[in-house]
Symmetry: C2
Subunit: 523 residues, 2 copies
């Protein structure tokens, strides 16, 4: 049985059961056994995290940056083992996806988080010299991270975006591994623990458990020792955690579900339909469609160009190799959710069948509905079929497209393709106006699956895409704000202020809002 | 029966019952009758607010600023009538409190909000030129405002901090009047409606209802047409609304309860005990103690200076005139909650008795407990007795004080008085470290009741002081962020970007983060 990492020690779990991950390429269980922790493990992790949070009050952002950088270096030194195990647990291609994609993204993200912690500008220090009031975001307290199945490295519970943001904001992390790749998460936690020891971080800085009962998960996120939680995963499980955390008044940042509407207007299709068909197919089937921002709903206007586009992408989906899915659960959910759409009247264009070749997989699938059908039951029609599938909607008018967008729940992204000569502009304006308030990120002429780690990124959006539309889960420094509490100092004697709020800038680089102007200067 | 303001029209409510406010100075009902609206009123207000939110997408921050400034001017033109009615409904002194205090605070706040809307810096525009990604906070959608009883002007539902912030962020407001001062709120709404018409705002920009059933209130804050809610009031009612809003994934910003611990260390008492006794008495009895930041828990160390301080403030509380309370409900809650503390073992120093002179009022009250008593049941001992009362805690050691602070729930404020020669410094450091993470605003040598409208203010704090520790309800531009959603633009064609994100600054004043540096310049 693998060990949990609690209070700086790898030790046997308090567990009454265990689980194994699967090799998606063979449908077989992998040999390692992981414990399902009892509450005792959670409780000890919470105690240790609370103690770490106290110790962190005396540890500067620069020292936290040292830790994050040492961790990134340690990951690079162990990259081959991590990539090997992640490949075994996810079947993602080693070179193009894991070693060449997620790995540099992960270490880059940790180094950006380190730079943000060292600099301090993320915390929006604000100084009002006339009233003697100064404020800054400070650590919110121990953060629980529940990472998703689809990014074992770059969004892993002990290595990814939520982890990096929580640590850089000055918080210890209790990582709950995703059951699809517990071994990968364990390797990361080993690197993190070594780096924490090497840089003098407190014992409970990074802790790892693999799984708990649902009940203990809800108890964990609502515990008084917790500051906040970051969760990316299924809507059902996320909403249960949200309810528990909300009742206890504990912030929880969730990334739940999103169909990511893509409107492709007739002018764009006439101009470059074949190119867009390639883009769409690539985006929708990349990673076997297992992206939070997978284009799951395509909005089209009836006409010849649209008929040609549908015919093109149907052919491409039929011809494209069928990718491997992450787990039996993903395979089953995909089939189930596609059936929900078919039962609701969606027409099958291609796919929607099991593929029996010894892997977790399902045929590349396209379904089609009319806007009338969609608008008759938008809730059912927005069922997310996570994986290599998409629902095409063909409307008879721009009015119908606008109504369709207005009927959508919150989404992470929304895209509109339009032509370059202006024939789509009137439709664009109407659709974009509705789409703007439904999505966190609005795109033009580009598929949504690339999520750059940019200060201007918003990987977020209105419920149920996330739990709160003011926060982003990707992008530094913005993503750190989720794990800060606003701390105001009123008439505090100068020498007692945190360094970042004293008259002299602590480092000459931090941007502070002084009497309404942003500056890097001393006061 | 007074009329509601819905969709730009003052009209009869759809109501099945009514209520009257009281004159706190006479305990008698005031003549005006206000409707308890049925769901039909809420539903129509939501439809109109949703339409207004759509119209506001095409209205610039500068035009919203025009509205807010016209509104502030209109209030000033009608100040005497507002102050008269507010005095009748609250019994607050006209000159020192209403005309001289809240009124200029209210119009100043509206003008600061106007300046923020015109400038745009509140929205943290962020531009990444290398990736073509740009983001900015935009309007979250219609905002419901439930104002408190204790600030009829400066935190009124249609005039105060939440209102100003929601409007300045680009949202229409549905104001739910506080039942203590429905007439004052109506007068404000009349000014607002005139200003909205004069400046060409959409019909549902400001709407007013007076009261609904609890069930309809919960339905309102969780309605899909709502963007967010601001609520200040009782913990019980607030938590019911929070639960409804949370389940629907709708942000709700609550200001619930706070005992606002004030630690007065022995050195400070030896040095200036008499002065601090005056400060405390003034702060605790001002406005009959009906401040969110009233010092309701005083933390002391056993000793001669503390004995003298307690004796001083007990005498002052006995001698001070008894102020008028806002309502029969406040009077009853105060008596009930003080009894909870007495039943839990608190010793009565002065007060805790009815005062029968034809007003809503209750004797100025001080209770005392030991730290041992407090720590035996911190939950009961933190019962907020809103009004002219405070609980004194006398500890035998700094350890006990630190444990006491560690046992506290989240609070809006925490203060520490220490001496100027350093004898309190060791105790200060330990107490401040614990207190920092329990409160939104930490003070030195100053009572918490002044809440400056400063960019650096945090009128917020961890649950249950508020619903989320990252947001402030007072202070501009910070308070606007509660009513914004993060809107990212990825690869959007330049002419389609909102003005604030185009290369050229729209006004030369807005601060934008461009490639990691804050600047007012064009790109």
């Amino acid at each position: 049985m693998e060990k949990v990492l609690i209070a700086g020690q790898w030790r046997d779990a308090n567990a009454s059961s265990s689980f194994q991950a699967s090799n998606p390429g063979t449908r077989e269980l992998l040999p390692a056994e992981y414990p399902v922790s009892n509450w005792e493990d959670c409780n000890e992790a919470l105690d240790s995290a609370a103690a770490a949070a106290v110790a962190l009050r005396g540890i500067s952002g620069a020292r936290i940056a040292d830790f994050l950088e040492a961790y990134a270096n340690d990951i690079e030194a162990n990259a081959e083992a991590i990539v090997d195990l992640a490949h075994a647990e996810t079947a993602y291609p080693k070179e193009t996806r894991l070693a060449g994609g997620e790995m540099p993204r992960t270490t880059n993200q940790l180094r950006q988080a380190a730079a943000a912690a060292r600099d301090g500008s993320w915390a929006l220090p604000t100084i009002d010299t006339s009233t003697g009031i100064r404020s800054v975001y400070g650590a919110i307290g121990p953060v629980c991270v529940f990472g998703p199945n689809n990014f074992p490295l770059a969004f892993g519970s002990a290595s990814g975006g939520d982890f990096a943001a929580a640590i850089a904001a000055g918080n210890p992390v209790i990582a709950k591994a995703n059951s699809s790749h517990p071994g990968t998460t364990r390797l990361f936690a080993e690197c993190a623990q070594r780096a924490a020891e090497a840089t003098g971080m407190p014992a409970g800085m990074v802790q790892l458990i693999y799984r708990t009962s649902h009940e203990d998960g809800e108890r964990l996120v609502s515990d008084q020792r917790v500051g906040a939680t970051g969760y990316t995963g299924s809507r059902h499980a996320g909403l249960k955690l949200k309810q528990a955390a909300d009742l206890a008044g504990k912030p929880i940042y969730l990334e739940l579900s999103s169909v990511n509407p893509v409107a492709v207007l007739p002018g764009a299709l006439s101009e470059r339909g074949s190119e867009i068909a390639d883009e769409f197919t690539g985006s929708c089937l990349m990673g076997t469609g297992q992206f939070c921002t997978n284009p799951g709903l395509v909005l089209l206007l009836a006409g010849e160009a649209t008929d040609q586009f549908i015919s093109d992408i149907t052919a491409k989906f039929a011809e494209a190799p069928v990718g491997t899915l992450l787990s039996a659960g993903v395979e089953k959910s995909l089939a189930t959710n596609l059936q929900v759409l078919v039962d609701a009247g969606a027409e099958l264009l291609v796919g929607n069948s099991a593929v029996d070749d010894g892997r977790f997989c399902y045929a590349n699938t396209l379904l089609k509905v009319t806007a009338t059908q969609f608008l008759a039951d938008p809730e059912i029609m927005q069922t997310e079929a996570f994986g290599n599938s998409s629902l095409l909607l063909v409307a008879d008018s721009v009015d119908e497209l606008v109504q369709t967008v207005a009927s959508l729940e919150g989404n992470l992204t929304g895209c509109i393709y339009s032509d370059t000569t202006g024939s789509d502009d009137a439709a664009y304006d109407r659709i974009a106006s509705e789409m703007r308030v439904k999505v966190g990120r609005l795109l033009n002429d580009k598929m949504p699956t690339g999520v750059a780690v940019s200060a201007a990124m918003n990987h977020g959006g209105p419920f149920p895409a996330t739990g709160h539309p003011a926060f982003t889960a990707v992008g530094i420094p913005g993503s750190l704000l989720r794990f800060g509490m606003l701390q105001c100092y009123d008439n505090i004697r100068a020498h007692r202020l945190p360094e970042i709020l004293q008259d002299a800038s602590p480092n000459g680089t931090v941007w502070r809002s002084v009497d309404g102007s942003w500056t890097q200067a001393n006061i």
